[in-house]
C-alpha cells in the first residue's frame, strides 16, 4: 500500500509539473462556459418554405406554430438567395390554394426518398390542419411517460463526459509512459519491488481522480444536486478507467510519442463516432453499438435526463466491468512481460 501511495504521489507531482492539471482546469473552464452560455434551444430545420399562395395561409400557419425566421418566406428573391447559400436544405414552394395545394421541392444535395416522403406527409397534415379536417385517430402510448426535452446546454454534458472528460487518461497516460522511457525512470522502476500492479493502478487512479475533478464541477453547475451522483460518477470512473487501461496497453508497443500519435488519433476518432448517434439518435447502425463509448454515452444520458436507475444501466455497468477486466489483463501482461522486461 505504501509503495502504491508513493507511486501515486509521484505521478500526481509529475502531472502537475507538466501542466496537466493546469490544462485540465482550462478545459474545465471552457466546458463550463459552454454549459453556461450555450443557448437552451437551437432549432435547426432541414427545409425552407416559400409560400406563393394568395393570402400566404401556409406561411401564417407555420409562423403561428413557431417555425421561425429563415425557414418560412413569402418573397421569392430572398428565398432563392438563402436557399442558394444553404445547399443542404430542401426548398419547398407552395402555390395553389387549400383545395388544390401544389408543392414543388428543390433539392441541391443527396436526400433519401423516404425523407422526402416524410416531408410530404408532414405538409399534407399541415394542409388538413388548415382545412380543419385533421383528426388524431391512432392512439399514442409513451412507455416511460412523457419526459421534458433537455435544454441544449445540458444536452452536451454527456458528450463532454464521455468524449472529453474520460479521455484524459487515454491521451496522457501513454505520454507519461513515453516520458518515463525517455528519462530512464522506467529502467530504475524495474529494479524496485513496485511491479506492474502498482504501475497500472497508480496511473489509473491518477486519471480517475482527474476525470472526477473535471466532470464533477460540470455536473454540479449543470444539474445541482438533482441527479444520482453515485450512479453517474460510477459510469465516469469505469469509462475513464477503461480508456486509461486501453491506452496503457497500446502504448507499450510504441517507442515514443511520435510513433504512437497517429495510431492514438485513429483509436480516438473511432471511439468518438458514437457522438454522431447521440446527436442524431435515429442514426445508429449495429456496428456503432459495438464501440464501448456508445453504451456509455447513452447510459449517462439516461441517468441525467431519463431518471434511469441502477437496474436500467446495469447491462452497461456489467459491460464496462468486463471491458475493464480485459483492459487490465492486457495492460498487465504487456507491462509485466514487455515494458518491465525491456533492456
Amino acid at each position: 500500500m505504501k509503495r502504491f501511495i508513493s507511486m501515486f504521489m509521484q505521478d500526481l507531482i509529475l502531472a502537475n509539473r507538466n501542466g496537466l492539471i493546469l490544462v485540465t482546469g482550462i478545459l474545465l473552464i471552457a466546458m463550463l462556459a459552454l454549459v453556461l452560455f450555450l443557448p437552451k434551444q437551437l432549432k435547426i430545420h432541414n427545409e425552407m418554405i416559400l409560400d406563393l399562395s394568395q393570402g400566404t395561409i401556409l406561411a401564417t400557419y407555420l409562423n403561428n406554430q413557431g417555425v421561425g425566421e429563415d425557414v418560412v418566406f413569402i418573397e421569392e428573391q430572398e428565398f432563392n438567395q438563402k436557399l442558394e447559400k444553404q445547399p443542404n436544405k430542401v426548398g419547398v414552394i407552395f402555390s395553389g390554394d387549400l383545395e388544390n395545394p401544389v408543392f414543388a421541392f428543390l433539392i441541391n444535395s443527396q436526400i433519401p426518398m423516404e425523407n422526402i416522403n416524410l416531408l410530404k406527409a408532414s405538409l399534407d397534415r399541415a394542409i388538413l390542419d388548415l382545412r380543419g379536417e385533421s383528426t388524431a385517430t391512432i392512439p399514442v402510448r409513451f412507455l416511460r411517460g412523457v419526459m421534458q426535452t433537455p435544454p441544449l446546454n445540458l444536452k452536451i454534458i454527456p458528450i463532454a463526459l464521455v468524449f472529453e472528460v474520460v479521455l484524459l487518461g487515454f491521451f496522457f497516460v501513454s505520454v507519461m509512459m513515453f516520458q518515463e522511457k525517455q528519462e530512464a525512470t522506467l529502467r530504475a522502476y524495474r529494479v524496485t519491488p513496485g511491479g506492474a500492479w502498482n504501475y497500472i493502478l497508480s496511473k489509473n487512479l491518477l486519471f480517475i481522480v482527474l476525470s472526477i475533478a473535471y466532470g464533477l464541477p460540470l455536473l454540479l453547475v449543470g444539474f445541482g444536486l438533482s441527479i444520482n451522483y453515485g450512479l453517474i460518477l460510477l459510469l465516469v470512473v469505469m469509462t475513464a478507467s477503461m480508456m486509461t487501461l486501453i491506452s496503457l496497453f497500446i502504448a507499450v508497443f510504441f517507442r515514443n510519442l511520435s510513433e504512437w500519435f497517429f495510431v492514438g488519433v485513429a483509436v480516438l476518432v473511432i471511439n468518438s463516432l458514437p457522438s454522431i448517434s447521440y446527436g442524431i439518435p435515429s442514426f445508429s447502425p449495429a456496428w456503432m453499438s459495438w464501440i464501448p463509448s456508445y453504451p456509455a454515452v447513452f447510459a449517462v444520458r439516461d441517468v441525467l435526463f431519463n431518471a434511469a436507475t441502477w437496474v436500467d444501466v446495469l447491462p452497461t455497468i456489467v459491460l464496462l466491468l468486463v471491458l475493464n477486466g480485459i483492459g487490465f489483463l492486457l495492460a498487465y501482461l504487456a507491462i509485466q512481460r514487455k515494458l518491465l522486461k525491456e533492456g
Binding site: I107, Q110, A121, L123, D124, I138, F142, Q179, S258
Partner: protein, 333 residues
C-alpha cells in the same frame, strides 16, 4: 543558408524514417479517410426506423415503408423492447385489433410531429400535388465534402505536429542548445521544419481528398487553398513545439489547441451566418471558409480569393507576433 536548411530537413527525414513516423503518418490518416468514405454515405442516407408488429396489415406496413426503414417483430413486447433501446425508434403495435403508436417518452416536441406524420402516412390519402426538381449539384453528398474539409484540417495539423515533436525532441536531447551556438538562425529553422511539415501535410491532404471525393473537386483551387494556409501549420508547430518542454506538455497544449483549431470552424456549419462574426479573428475559420468554397461553393461572406488572402495574412500575423517570443524560447539567433 540553403545547405543548413537542407541538412536540417535531411535530419528530420532520418528521424521520421527511424521512428516510423512516415509509415504511421501515411497509413493512419489514409485508413481513416477510407473508413470515412464507406461511413459517410450511410450517414447521408439516414432516415427514421420504425419497429412494427408483423401482424399489422401489409398495406399499412408498405405505406410506412415509404417514409422510413421498417424492423418487423412478431410480438408487441419485442416492439416495445426495441422502442426502449438507446436510439430514437418509434413503434407500431396492434392492440384490441387497432394500431397503436409506441414511443419512449423522451422525444420532446418531435413526438407530436411524429404522431401526425405516421397517421398521415398510414392513411394513404393524397392531399396535395408534388413535384421534385434536382439542382445542378443534386447528386452531391455534402457530408462527404465536409468530411474532406475536416480531413484537410486534421492532416495539416498532423504535419505541423511532426514539426512540433521534432522541436521538442531537440529540446529534450539538448540538441537545441547545440543548434543555438551553431550558425543556424530561427528563420532557417522555420523554413526547414516548416517545409518538411508542409510537404507531409500536402501529401496527406491530396491523398485523403482523392479517397473521399475522387476527382470531383478542382485540385487547382485545392492547392491554392493549401498555399493560402501554409502559415497556419507553421504557427501550430511553433505554438506547440515552442511552448512545450516535453511531450507531456505538448499533448496537454494540443488537447486545448485542438478544441479551438477544429471544433470552432465545424460549429459554423450549423450556426446562422450572422453569428460567424464571432469567429472572424481565427485564421482557421478563414481556412475552413476557403476550403468550403472549394468543395461546396460560396455560402455567404467573402469569396475564395479574399478568404484565402485573409487566411494567409491573419496566420502570418500571428506567426510574426509569436516569432520573437519563440526565438527567445528556442534560444536561436
Amino acid at each position: 543558408m540553403f545547405k543548413r536548411i537542407i541538412n536540417l530537413m535531411r535530419q528530420d527525414w532520418t528521424n521520421a524514417v527511424r521512428d516510423n513516423i512516415l509509415l504511421y503518418m501515411m497509413i493512419a490518416p489514409l485508413l481513416l479517410a477510407l473508413g470515412a468514405r464507406f461511413f459517410l454515405p450511410s450517414l447521408n442516407q439516414n432516415q427514421y426506423t420504425f419497429a412494427v408488429q408483423s401482424s399489422l396489415n401489409s398495406e399499412l406496413v408498405h405505406r410506412l415503408d415509404q417514409i422510413g426503414k421498417i424492423e418487423l417483430f412478431d410480438d408487441a413486447n419485442d416492439v416495445k423492447e426495441r422502442v426502449l433501446r438507446s436510439d430514437d425508434v418509434p413503434g407500431l403495435i396492434i392492440e384490441n385489433n387497432q394500431p397503436q403508436i409506441i414511443m419512449e417518452g423522451n422525444e420532446g416536441d418531435e413526438a407530436q410531429v411524429l404522431q401526425s406524420v405516421i397517421e398521415q402516412a398510414l392513411s394513404g390519402d393524397v392531399v396535395a400535388q408534388y413535384s421534385l426538381t434536382q439542382g445542378e449539384s443534386g447528386a452531391r453528398s455534402l457530408l462527404k465534402e465536409y468530411g474532406a474539409i475536416i480531413f484537410i484540417l486534421i492532416n495539416t495539423l498532423l504535419g505541423s505536429l511532426v514539426m512540433a515533436f521534432n522541436i521538442i525532441e531537440d529540446k529534450e536531447s539538448k540538441a537545441m542548445r547545440a543548434l543555438g551556438v551553431s550558425p543556424l538562425s530561427m528563420l532557417e529553422l522555420t523554413i526547414a521544419r516548416g517545409l518538411f511539415a508542409l510537404v507531409l501535410s500536402l501529401i496527406m491532404v491530396v491523398s485523403s481528398t482523392m479517397i473521399l471525393v475522387g476527382t470531383q473537386v478542382n485540385f487547382g483551387l485545392l492547392l491554392m487553398g493549401f498555399a493560402f494556409s501554409i502559415a497556419l501549420p507553421i504557427l501550430t508547430g511553433y505554438v506547440i513545439g515552442g511552448l512545450a518542454d516535453n511531450q507531456l506538455k505538448a499533448i496537454a497544449i494540443l488537447k486545448f489547441y485542438f478544441l479551438i483549431y477544429l471544433t470552432l470552424p465545424i460549429i459554423t456549419v450549423v450556426i446562422p451566418q450572422k453569428s460567424h462574426i464571432f469567429f472572424y479573428w481565427l485564421p482557421n475559420y478563414w481556412m475552413w471558409h476557403t476550403f468550403e468554397q472549394v468543395f461546396i461553393g460560396n455560402l455567404g461572406g467573402p469569396g475564395f480569393l479574399l478568404s484565402g488572402i485573409i487566411t494567409f495574412f491573419s496566420s502570418l500575423l500571428l506567426v510574426v507576433i509569436c516569432y520573437p517570443f519563440l526565438r527567445r524560447q528556442l534560444k536561436l539567433r
